[in-house]
Symmetry: C2
Subunit: 180 residues, 2 copies
DNA sequence: TATTGTTATACTCTATAACTATA
DNA sequence: TATAGTTATAGAGTATAACAATA
């Protein structure tokens, strides 16, 4: 809890080739200022060794396009995940969605209500638990999701265009080894 | 913009082996209810084909531990990224930080002020642009970041313990092909 | 007593518009 | 006119505590 172990070794990142400090073109115009170097090209070599940083940047990059392409369906990433899970798991409960997608129950309530108000899902009593409610995609919701999933898959292939099919498969598997 | 192409093919996800619908243990107790199946194990095979979903889940998983371990330093992920970038790029400007870390200028202002108030960074006039301000880590900030980066690297290795060194390297490189 | 779903609410994060001072 | 930094603010996302109904 308290203090982390004092680093007896240096962090992994190499000091990184610092762009020749001081003035660049300014050297041609006037004398160097005393002690305030400027930066030509920002070095991010340390951050790039962090999985959290890279995963987050990659995710945000994809989500940016996702928001744009899925807007016509009225679906944001979480809406999409929830609808897709209901689509493929008829009768799934709110609690199961929360566990599966790592959501908090209070944050799911409004989302479910909204999807129901749009006629995309229906709530049916759970077969053998009076507290729970089974969620089902309506025909309208099903039709929407078939198209939405197609669009999502398409956009993903675009965003990962620099990757071969094998690399893409590898990447998915490795990411799952982290969070599953 | 308007409508996406109608899917002439099915989305990639296979229908996925549906857990035998209907009642499970309930079958032993009473007759099956008319038409409200319940779900035993939630199937997420489609979502798992999406890079955005997997990258986000992996990132959040790492960030969760990051928040815990870096709390003693008073650094959240963005604070850490900013401090680390300043540390490795003395004299970097706010605008350069925004471009590099994909932040919006208004959201960086309070963050910088906070770091300065804590005595972790200093603001010096930019050598040849009166509008800009160069950011520099103080000795205190430098000492903090050496330890913070060590802790971050350590925690990352823990979270990616299921990966070999080669897999880890591969994963970093593939993620960078997406967002860089 | 424990769990499902819900309400209310607070806190954080992210985004937009508009201003200033310098270039 | 364009850019760096700032202010104010709105909106979305995420979090905790507490409650009713059911197990």
């Amino acid at each position: 809890m308290a203090k982390p172990p004092l680093p007896s070794e240096k962090p992994l990142a190499k000091p990184a080739p610092q762009p020749k400090s001081g003035a660049r073109r300014a050297a041609a115009t006037k004398a160097l200022p005393p002690s305030a170097p400027s930066v030509d090209k920002v070095d991010t070599s340390y951050l790039q060794t962090l999985m959290g940083y890279n995963a987050r940047r990659a995710a945000l990059s994809i989500i940016e396009l996702f928001l744009e392409r899925l807007a016509p369906y009225g679906l944001k990433p979480v809406d999409f995940s929830v609808m897709s899970t209901i689509q493929h798991n008829p009768g799934v409960t709110s609690r199961q969605l929360c566990m599966t997608l790592n959501l908090l129950p209070p944050n799911l309530v409004g989302l479910i209500q909204s999807l129901e108000a749009r006629g995309l899902i229906e709530r049916k009593p759970h077969p053998h638990d009076g507290r729970a409610v089974g969620l089902h995609a309506t025909p309208k919701g099903q039709a929407l999701m078939v198209q939405a999933e197609f669009t999502a898959t398409e956009l993903e292939l675009e965003k990962t265009a620099k990757l071969s099919a094998a690399q893409r498969k590898t990447l998915l598997a490795l990411l799952q080894k982290i969070y599953l």
